[in-house]
């Protein structure tokens, strides 16, 4: 009897410590400052420095899952994305980005959070707890789900479906496949585009802003077409001749350029 009590207490203590450590782990944040006014601190859960890296996404795995009816490329005029069909009346749009560092993924999300009209909230700021990703944000009654798992960012947006929770369902599914997927230990194995240089070609004043034309020299290790995105603009335009235009408003003394290839591998560089 005495031993049974000891064992019971032992397990109770283990459970208590486990719960406490979990709470402390969840509360282990770092903060990134919003990039535009208001310059508030935005929470991110800390991620282990020993995190491994994905070198591909999970499109094949998703296509084979019984929940998914179809996955099709459904680019808008300005953005590259997929439509994930669940059935005739339920679908979501999905974008994903594969970076060579967790920091790049977090800054990319930070830019999105700084400019979105719908103010997605970090999991820690609301009651949602779907256990998705290392960090996850929800917007518009969870019709928008953005999460980061290691070096991959995924954005799921409900496509005017009949049912609720489609974005959460698909996000959980994507994350479950990511968790099963093989990773590598070195970020240098992630085949992101290589940015060789950024130079300012010209500048002029437009209203309250300076407009700069920048020449970006970049190569893609996979030999794919490149697309560019600049902070403040959600468009992902064909890279073309490498000359991009950046408007630098009053709130901005530097800008960040993102280069994407067709498989959504992403590099970034800060300029000015």
């Amino acid at each position: 009897m005495k031993y049974k009590n000891i064992i019971r207490w032992f397990f109770m203590i283990i459970c208590f410590l486990s719960t406490v450590s979990s709470v402390f782990a969840q509360a282990d944040f770092h903060y990134r400052t919003r990039l535009l006014e208001p310059f508030v601190e935005m929470p991110f859960y800390n991620v282990s420095e020993n995190t491994s890296f994905y070198t591909s996404f999970v499109l094949d795995e998703l296509e084979k899952d019984s929940l998914i009816e179809n996955i099709v490329r459904d680019d808008t005029a300005q953005n590259r994305r997929y439509r994930v069909d669940i059935d005739d009346n339920n679908s979501v749009h999905m974008k994903f980005f594969i970076f060579s560092s967790i920091e790049d993924a977090e800054i990319h999300v930070l830019e999105y959070l700084s400019t979105s009209n719908v103010y997605p909230k970090h999991e820690s700021q609301i009651s949602a707890n779907h256990n998705i990703g290392n960090n996850v944000w929800y917007g518009w009654n969870e019709k928008i789900v953005i999460f980061i798992r290691n070096n991959v960012e995924v954005r799921i947006v409900d496509n005017y479906s009949e049912s609720d929770n489609n974005s959460v369902r698909i996000a959980k599914l994507v994350d479950s496949f990511l968790l099963q997927k093989k990773t590598v230990s070195g970020s240098e194995l992630v085949p992101v585009p290589k940015i060789n240089s950024v130079t300012t070609v010209s500048s002029k004043v437009i209203g309250n802003s300076m407009q700069y034309k920048l020449n970006v020299e970049a190569d893609d290790p996979l030999g794919q077409n490149l697309y560019y995105n600049i902070f403040g603009w959600s468009s992902e335009n064909p890279f073309g001749n490498g000359v991009v235009t950046v408007s630098s408003g009053e709130q901005l003394d530097k800008t960040r350029i993102w280069i994407l290839n067709e498989d959504h591998f992403v590099s970034t560089v800060e300029h000015f």
């Binding site: 518009w140 235009t245 408003g249």
Partner: protein, 365 residues
């Protein structure tokens, strides 16, 4: 455009064809004034300069006028190859139109073969309409006198022109309006004479605007596609026009539709801006609305999350092309609404605290 005509002998005794060509037509011939000629406009980001009609250079460009200028002057140039050799020195010409704007008679002489720029007034019987609009006319240039002697009017050529009328002097960001913008704005506001009516037509026009499959959709992410989210003012108009002409999947957010309102209306000479409402951290939730585009064009629903909202702004009134409000029986595009009336009809939960005016800037990414 060579035209050879044999004159009726019963009217004037001459024996060879009269070769008179209309070679150039100038609409915006005085760029320092808009009181009696066209206003300066641009196409493909290049200012259109007179002569707008110059077939030898394959040039036939649009012109635009203030709606108050109903009797503008046009300048035309002619060339007569051999009129002097035939012993004649002048003809009297006018521009006939089967309907709409026409030009009255002017004397044309041909020193050295060319006439130089000859001014033609507007026919008192056929002035321009004193409304906003877009028109295409074909003028038949007719000779009615040779050296002062009347002849049976005969044609020396035709010319076809597209022109626009705007309400007032265009304002920033469209101080030099784009033809691509006037094409939409003047068509939507055709026949209007007041600012509010024109703004209403343009707001409804943007709301119904289409890409290659007929509609523009709302980006549920709330991410502007053509507007900088750094300042809510920089707008990539070149990209937008390129996309609606080539893509079936154009999406926009409120910032984009607000900037479009600002652009299309200032091209007509209206002093509009955009207005942005926001709360730094809390979203506002909509009532039942029919948001622009969205799959089947009509898919009203509520509970959209509008962390911030940007819309058209004129004389402290709201014009919002992004959506249609519901009044209990009908959906309607909100136009000329006070801010409080608009937000009361739009929002179930109104958490907006701040408001700021913006003036759009055209940029090219």
């Amino acid at each position: 455009m060579a035209v050879s005509l044999m004159m009726a002998e019963s009217v004037l005794a001459w024996s060879l064809p009269l070769d008179v060509d209309v070679v150039k037509i100038h609409f915006n011939h005085n760029t320092g004034s808009t009181s009696s000629d066209g206003i300066t406009i641009q196409e493909d980001e290049t200012t259109i300069v007179a002569p707008e009609w110059y077939p030898l250079s394959s040039k036939n460009e649009e012109s635009a006028y203030l709606k108050t200028v109903t009797s503008p002057t046009v300048k035309a140039e002619f060339y007569a190859n051999d009129i002097g050799q035939q012993g004649y020195s002048s003809v009297r010409i006018y521009a006939h139109a089967s309907s709409g704007w026409a030009l009255s008679e002017s004397n044309v002489t041909f020193p050295g073969g060319g006439s130089g720029q000859v001014s033609f007034g507007t026919s008192a019987s056929f002035p321009q309409a004193s409304t906003v609009g877009k028109w295409t006319i074909t003028w038949t240039w007719k000779v009615v006198k040779i050296d002062g002697g009347s002849v049976t009017p005969f044609s020396v050529g035709t010319s076809t022109h597209t022109f626009y009328n705007v309400l007032d002097t265009p304002e920033a960001p469209m101080t030099v309006p784009w033809v691509e913008v006037l094409d939409y704005a003047c068509d939507w506001a055709q026949g209007e004479t007041t600012e509010v009516n024109a703004l209403t037509e343009i707001t409804e026009g943007i709301n119904a605007m289409g890409d290659t499959d007929g509609d523009i959709n709302y980006d549920v992410n709330g991410q502007a596609q053509y507007t900088s989210m750094i300042n809510y003012e920089d707008f990539d108009l070149t990209d937008f026009f390129s996309d609606i002409n080539t893509s079936s999947n154009v999406e926009i957010a409120c910032n984009d539709s607000a900037c479009l309102f600002n652009i299309f209306t200032t091209a007509l000479g209206c002093s509009t801006k955009t207005y942005r409402r926001w709360n730094s951290s809390v979203t506002s939730i909509t009532k039942m609305i029919d948001i622009i585009g969205v799959e089947d064009d009509f898919n009203p629903q509520d509970d959209y999350s509008f962390g911030l909202h940007q819309f058209g702004w004129f004389s402290n009134k709201v014009f919002d092309p992004l959506l249609q409000l519901y009044n209990g029986s009908d959906f309607f595009v909100p136009c000329n609404e006070t801010l409080s009336t608009f937000e009361s009809a739009l929002l179930k939960t109104n958490n907006y605290i701040y408001g700021e005016e913006h003036l759009t800037e055209i940029v090219d990414n």
